[in-house]
Symmetry: C2
Subunit: 389 residues, 2 copies
């Protein structure tokens, strides 16, 4: 186990300042007085504040990006030491949890100070976002800021986060390589007679052994010629000859995800499984062929959908790939209704799925980087034939 | 690796029905027409819908608990197969993501149907909760339901989830035992010269090897006589003689968490570290001594705070323990301001922390079950002396 080729951890401060400048230019265009952020990736994007403590839903965390000047953190005191190691210097804390006022009045005062009278407060409000604070505290905050309106963020966060820097891509690429090495060892832990939950548990161990910081996401399935769905937890059922096993992992290295899967045949696969798999490879190629700056997310969808459904317009999964980065899934979505124009620097998954028999599906997934030319496969690309265990 | 003593996975349907009945009685008292749920534990509590797919923030998921009758799921079609395996029969789906209407009109129509004209819609809105849907969609939902008010849930979810059933306790106990076996093997993976990130990675592997389904949470620290904080990710710094290493894990078995830590001295500990550790043991005992039905969360706090700060009223961590179960952290909080009365069936952590030198702390944590008598330690209780590696 050597990690000689690991990229550096963290980012130079200049990268955070560049992100800030990019966002503040867009805030000026939208006449926003402040961005108001509550979720892990939003706050980490500007600060580098990286902790698994977000798993605890107890405490709200807030970051305010003013129209000019540096971000201001309004956070529980338990996070002060770690936030103090980032480049953020204005850190305002309260002792959380506080059952009466869990940071809301401090937050309101800070927004009032930074935003000016009447300045608009923008909160990310669209797809792939949510509101990480209690419902009642949103109302309390509004009541404390009667002269400010809390609106959406004009999709500013979406726009800036969707295009990755080289430093970000290096982390995703590294995560993909770790997962690739783990997938290469699945033959050591899976086979006929091995319970699926054993495979799941040991695959996570492989990911860690190969260098993952942690494994936030693992899903998969197994069944004759295909599986029923791709989000179920593992059963204790043993794998059987003729099963197709699929493992789909989102492991993290330094806060950045990979997200791709691999299929394995337990024993010689049937013609049905083989032809289904070939179609997935063809669909992946069709997506990659046109994944260039200027193409839209919908273009990629249609190129793949033509192969996997004959152009029926989609399936139960709802999309055939998506962005990724600080989240397992990000914008855009490869669906018919997403007209996002691809740009160099976007990191995306190509994720075609196919129904091989009623209720039995196969799904394949690769991670790519949009470049000025052909996309770079960040995941070590699967070969043309279904690997046999 | 044998798991002969594992409890059953899942719950009998009767347990879900009992939860529902308990909640609907309280809804009647509060004149609520429906409960409106958006987060993973809330939805799983009534349905058993267990998947790691929540890691993807793309899709919103909704569950409505009507005043009478069974829960209704309003979910993306990708989840229909898995939800169909639960006892829920009324499953309404849309193809997500939908950039124009991501389930909001289906949700509004369902709420309207189930809630009746003017019926109040209650959403969990207090501590340990948040709103897992986009900010803009909350406004859209309100606009589609002009004759309904969305309020808090009168703390109904808090009240019912805070007291665990025997089946729930069995899962938490099992998770604690898995972590206990992993902690017993820390000497195999840690020692002077081993980088902290190596310890973190290999400790997660031990948790999996001992039977964890996954390891959503691991934090810790290491430093001379203590550590700077308890939420930072691992550095690559090697452990040194005199360091105290702390690992704090929230691993999951069948959807239920343990949450406790262990401290280890790298080489012989100093008197400072030893006396700090002894105080943590004393504080834990003081908390356990009064952790009986009828005591309040504040009582437990004061009993422990008296020992760790001399009664100063708390520290930067903000609390000295909390509930746990389907979340890493739940209600109540061991703080001066929480007057929640303990009841048999509550699962809680005792988590005293102490500052042994400026900026250097030690934290200890155990998981207990409140019974009619003395609490049961679900975590295999730490011995009186700091273990030495």
């Amino acid at each position: 186990m050597t990690f000689a080729s690991s990229p550096d951890r963290g980012f130079p401060v200049g990268e955070y300042k560049a992100r800030l400048a990019k966002v503040q230019r867009r805030m000026a265009d939208a006449s926003l007085g402040a961005l108001f952020l509550t979720t892990e990736p939003e706050i980490r994007y500007f600060t580098g504040f990286l902790t698994r403590f977000w798993e605890s839903p107890t405490r709200p965390w807030f970051l305010i990006v003013p129209a000019s000047g540096d971000p201001v953190a309004v956070i529980p005191s338990i996070g002060a030491a770690l936030m103090g190691q980032t480049w953020v210097t204005d850190i305002r804390t309260w002792s959380a949890p506080d059952l009466v006022d869990d940071g809301v009045s401090l937050l309101a005062a800070t927004l009032h100070e930074l935003c000016g009278v009447g300045g608009g407060i923008g909160m990310p409000s669209g797809h792939e976002t949510h509101v990480r604070m209690p419902f009642a505290d949103i109302s309390r905050l509004k009541a404390l800021l009667p002269r400010h309106e809390i609106t959406g963020d004009h999709d500013i966060m979406r726009a800036v986060r969707m295009v990755k820097t080289d430093n970000e891509v290096a982390k995703i690429r590294h995560a993909c390589q770790i997962a690739g090495r783990a997938f290469a060892r699945v033959g050591d832990i899976a086979g006929a007679g091995v319970p699926l939950d054993h495979v799941f548990r040991h695959f996570q161990m492989l990911c860690l052994e190969e260098g993952a910081d942690w494994v936030p996401y693992l899903a998969g399935g197994a069944g004759l010629d295909g599986y029923g769905d791709v989000i179920s937890p593992a059963t204790t059922d043993p794998l059987q000859q003729g099963d197709i096993l699929m493992l789909d992992t989102g492991l993290v290295w330094d806060g950045y995800f990979c997200d791709f899967d691999r299929n394995f045949a337990i024993g010689a696969p049937s013609e049905l499984a083989k032809s289904g798999y070939t179609k997935l490879m063809d669909a992946t190629q069709a997506g990659a062929d046109i994944a260039r700056p200027g193409a839209t997310a919908a273009d990629i969808f249609h190129a793949m959908d033509k192969i996997v459904t004959g152009g029926a317009g989609g399936s139960e999964a709802g999309r055939l790939g998506h962005g990724l980065g600080m989240q397992l899934t990000e914008w855009p979505s490869f669906i018919a209704g997403d007209d996002t124009v691809l740009e160099a620097g976007m990191v995306l998954t190509l994720e075609p799925g196919i129904e091989v028999a009623p209720g039995r599906i196969l799904v394949h997934e690769e991670d790519i980087l949009i470049t000025d030319g052909a996309p770079e496969f960040l995941s070590p690309r699967a070969g043309p034939d279904l690997p046999i265990i």
